[in-house]
Point group: C2
Chain length 328, copies 2
């Protein structure tokens, strides 16, 4: 077994995950802690979660063996521009006993690397938001969308939730009985799927239920839409198809027609066997028939792989990828 | 000249307008004051503006001659449910020397009455937001949209502004030179129509410029779109056409196909000879070829007419309407 160890971290809004792996692809430890994004949680809290995840991953590993590390983080650019956040991460790294340097990459690049070892390709991520990015030599090149719920995130969880509510409101405006999806959205928002004698009163209740919360929480309705689409509910199926078209259009803003390098899809709405993942695979397959379609996998392991591939003793990064980040 | 006087008020977010008229259609006075919506300005401030507008309109009129009054107000229902707001309006009414009762109607009904004397018809209003309403016997019946910028207002000023920014961001994502409308939007938001060497940096600046302000202020970009459409800019013309379709669809939610009663259009974006007004007239004319299309006019005069028509001595309300609220 190689004596050299690399660590990878996937720092997200709700969890921080760490992996320590040897260069022959053996996973030596994993760690999990709370959300650790310095932009949303503050530098000190984020660094504390980072340290907790690192310590768990290194419980059975001598930190002196760790030769490289990579942190994947949404808004990585902001961390690099934030001296306080950067210093807090440096301190956590040192407190974990690590003496090697670490690199920080955007979560989109790490998601890409969790799906393929190919240096060039495209990644599409759809969760609460949506973003597509072109990867060149394992660096992010051009980016499409990711502009946030007010101006972008077309086809995202926010978009699905908002459109589902809009269709419910249209049913109520028309004084038509809400359809299957609309009834579920109504029950979720108001606690009942009953429409008042004056449908406008129900519409006002719906608008108030949504506007009481931060707009981005409309994304919480997305799983209802995706599930209803899987069950064949027509309005949900049409929303999911429209979302898939919008997501593929975002990819088309940055990816040349006819490109044959890999397309990686990831994010909460495209992970697993969801109706949206199916629809997106269909759209992407139609537009780029020659491209391998890969599912994003273990982001912490992919971050570790990104750290390892620059070490001189790693002569076959693709083989290491196959061991560390198995295809889904 | 008839001794009887009626007063009408149009209470909006940015101004309060009052008209005092005689039953033979002579305008005896007008008044103007600041925004007086109790929901947005508070009851006392709103009542003070109401009183100022009333006093100006009644400068040359003995208040004892006033036999009826109507206040048109966005969110009229909320005033009726707000004892404090209602009491403040009662007090302003009394302070102006008025002893007659007054009625409160929604601004959509008053806009309708400013375009036609027909008791049944439909009104479509597009400004910052957008709403359509069916009128039966000069009462609001069913309403479509008006659900606010997050969930509704399809085809409104907010919608036009947001879509114009979205198209600019799509140009930047594609690393294409922004078109004519996109360049104007970019200059308006960032102070320059130059795109950075890395277009993503410009996209981020645009998103930050928008998200620094309340979302509804995207409506401030709508005049740029409407003007560019008038000049034939293709992206603007296509947005305006899409907005007109959405607005006509909102009308279609509440108005039967083939209806021949009047359609009144009003609101900041549909008043006057704008490209959107033209497009909306085209859409409505295609869907309801038999319906007279009327432009909304003087709302304070229309409110006064609504007050007058219930008085026993008004035997020909249509004739009074023709004198008080001349067609545009």
């Amino acid at each position: 077994m190689s004596d050299t160890v690399v660590v990878g971290l996937d720092v997200g809004g709700t969890s921080t995950r760490a992996a320590a792996v040897s260069l022959d692809g053996v996973r030596l430890g994993t760690g999990r802690a709370g959300g650790g994004n310095p932009t949303t949680h503050g530098a000190d809290r984020a660094a504390a979660e980072l340290l907790a995840a690192l310590r768990a991953a290194l419980a059975d590993v001598d930190p002196a063996r760790v030769r490289a590390g990579t942190i994947g983080l949404a808004g990585a650019g902001r961390l690099l521009a934030d001296p306080q956040g950067h210093a807090a991460f440096d301190q956590a790294w040192a407190d974990a006993g690590l003496r090697c340097p670490y690199a920080v990459h955007g979560d989109a690049l790490v998601a890409y690397a969790s799906g393929t070892a190919a240096p060039d390709g495209t990644v599409l991520i759809a969760g609460t938001g949506a973003i597509a990015a072109e990867v060149r030599d394992l660096r992010l090149d051009r980016v499409a969308d990711g502009h946030g719920w007010l101006l972008g995130d077309a086809g995202s969880g926010f978009w699905l939730g908002r459109e589902a509510v809009r269709r419910l409101l249209a049913d109520l405006d028309r004084a038509e009985a809400p359809g299957g999806l609309a009834r579920r959205i109504l029950a979720e928002l108001t606690g009942s799927s009953e429409v008042a004698a004056r449908p406008r009163a129900t519409a006002e209740t719906v608008v108030q239920a949504v506007t009481r919360r931060p707009p981005v929480e409309l994304a919480r309705l997305a799983p209802l839409v995706v599930t209803a689409a899987r069950e064949g509910e027509p309005a949900a199926a049409s929303l999911v198809a429209e979302a898939a078209t919008l997501l593929a259009e975002s990819v088309g803003r940055i990816r040349p027609a006819g490109a044959g390098n890999p397309l990686v899809i990831g994010g909460g709405l495209l992970t697993g066997d969801t109706a949206l993942a199916d629809a997106v695979r269909g759209e992407l397959g139609r537009r780029w028939p020659d491209a391998p379609l890969c599912a994003a996998g273990d982001a912490a392991a992919a971050a570790a792989w990104l750290a390892a591939r620059d070490l001189p003793e790693v002569t076959d990064p693709a083989a290491l990828h196959a061991r560390l980040v198995p295809a889904r």
